[in-house]
């Protein structure tokens, strides 16, 4: 259960703006400086993040083979960071 605990983590995101105005996240910079490339955006929709506490446009992305949610809330990007992961790093 504890493994599922998440916190809201604002991150730097490189975004590609398409001609129609749509935004596509290209890569995400984690707080330790590591940059992860977004392999594919699988789904985009308005959603709340109950785990991290927030609400915005939710991008379901494939990053290093794993499905990850990135949220665009007002004018910032955040991820639902696993608490245990952060403690390990």
């Amino acid at each position: 259960m504890k493994n599922d605990e998440r916190v809201k983590e604002y991150v730097n995101v490189t975004v590609k703006f398409k001609k129609d105005g749509a935004m596509v996240p290209v890569d995400i910079e984690w707080e330790n400086g590591t940059v992860y490339t977004v392999d594919k955006v699988l789904d985009v929709r308005q959603a709340a993040s109950l785990k991290a506490g927030g609400c915005g446009i939710r991008y379901l992305c494939k990053i290093m083979g794993a499905d990850t949610y990135i949220f665009f809330e007002e004018d910032k990007w955040f991820v639902e960071r696993k608490v245990s992961c952060a403690e390990d790093s």
Partner: protein, 418 residues
């Protein structure tokens, strides 16, 4: 075509938004309260856990804390509530352009369409309920009915996160057993009268003698009875994103009680400037000034007077407010809070009756001056330009978050303030 109206009510709105943003407090009793330091420390909203232990909206923080030791007290974030209110409205608007907001957290939605039945209405309501939960992370309760009054009753019957359908077939069973006080527009004093006449439920009201009601309550009596019988034909007003504003006002509880006219005057200037600025923002002027006074024993009253001309000039509003105070308040007890409201509004763009005397030039200059001050403050912050008197007593000059200000809207069919 059947009329199908939804009334959506975001459950424990302020508290739900706060709980969304702080998952740690979600399973604890939470109360959203004004700042204790600035003496705005009353409960503005509470979540279901706090409600269960008897925390009430409007009570002081210290009273609430006495009821439950682990009460989580959070300060309000009005910008967030505004954003969530707008997001909810966007969802409603995707089903109908006829959406009438009732405050930040409630709205009527007319989803009538040819061939659409009340069962279809319930399905749409359920979709809205699910979307609000998924997209906003908070819950809504929705009443589905054939008129606004019953739709509103429905949204109160099952909560949180629920749908209640009040149809032509079941309203007698669902609505009539409810206490008469549950009906919209039956306030505390009307309820007391009804109880004296042995009218205890909405059903009692529906079946009472109309002439008796007319004799005792005037024209309101039969209107309320019609509501109880389900005959409410008022339309859902398509007010767009901004409701029609009936009055604009601000009130404040300064960090210490007000004990002299000089102190009231300072407060009156601060409040009037804020009210005048917001009148200008909305392109409005008003002709009636109301003051709201609450003393240290918490008894409160309002007084109002008319101005000679429509205005949005702060000094004219402040002067009228001061003359009302001086005529009605004599410091038998110190003043705890003070509010100024301008109503009887009209568009600032409309035609103007210009006086033959020169005083109008002065008024035009004052209007220009205040508009310039608005833009300076917008660019350089609220304290960039201030009246010199306010520098002496800063505590009276700080109104806190201006979004706390009251903006009253026309309620749905009486044209009265809510």
């Amino acid at each position: 075509m059947d009329t199908i109206i939804l009334h959506a009510d975001l459950n424990s709105f302020y508290a739900s938004v706060e709980c969304l943003y702080d998952p740690v407090i979600r399973d604890l009793p939470v109360a959203v309260c004004g700042s204790v330091v600035n003496r705005h420390g009353i409960v503005l909203a509470k979540n279901a856990y706090a409600k269960k232990v008897g925390i009430q909206t409007g009570e002081a923080v210290w009273q609430a804390r006495k009821k439950v030791a682990n009460l989580v007290v959070v300060e309000p974030h009005y910008d967030r509530y505004l954003r969530f209110g707008n997001m909810a409205r966007e969802i409603y608007n995707s089903y109908s352009q006829q959406v009438e907001p009732f405050g930040m957290d409630e709205a009527w939605i007319d989803i009538s369409a040819p061939g659409r039945t009340i069962e279809d209405g319930a399905r749409i309501a359920d979709e809205i309920r699910r979307r609000i939960k998924f997209e906003l992370g908070i819950t809504v309760s929705i009443g589905v009915s054939f008129n606004k009054v019953f739709a509103k009753l429905g949204s109160d019957m099952k909560k949180p996160d629920a749908i209640t359908v009040i149809s032509n077939d079941n309203y007698k069973k669902l609505v009539w057993p409810l206490a008469v006080s549950e009906l919209l527009y039956v306030g505390w004093s009307t309820t007391k009268k009804f109880y004296n006449w042995d009218i205890n439920t909405i059903g009692d009201l529906a079946n009472a003698d109309s002439r008796f009601l007319q004799d005792r309550l005037g024209k309101v009596g039969p209107i309320l009875q019609q509501y109880a019988r389900g005959y409410d034909y008022s339309p859902v007003e398509d007010l767009g994103h901004e409701s029609v504003i009936k009055s604009i006002g601000n009130s404040t509880t300064p960090p210490k009680d007000i004990c002299s006219y000089d102190e009231i005057k300072l407060t009156a200037y601060v409040l009037s400037e804020s009210v005048a600025r917001r009148l200008r923002e909305h392109g409005l002027k008003g002709k009636t000034v109301q003051v709201h006074i609450r003393d240290s024993e918490l008894s409160c009253y309002e007084r109002q007077a008319q101005l000679k001309d429509y205005t949005n000039i702060s000094s004219e509003i402040a002067d009228k407010a001061m003359s009302l105070v001086k005529a009605n308040y004599f410091f038998q007890t110190p003043m705890r809070s003070f509010g100024i409201r301008v109503c009887d509004l009209s568009s600032a763009e409309g035609p103007l009756q210009i006086s033959v005397f020169k005083e109008d030039n002065r008024r035009f200059r004052l209007m220009d001056l205040e508009t310039s001050i608005d833009s300076i403050r917008k660019r350089y912050g609220p304290y960039a330009v201030q009246r010199a008197v306010l520098l002496k007593k800063r505590e009276f000059g700080d109104l806190g978050d201006t979004t706390e200000a009251l903006m009253r809207k026309v309620s749905f069919n009486t044209g009265e303030n809510r």
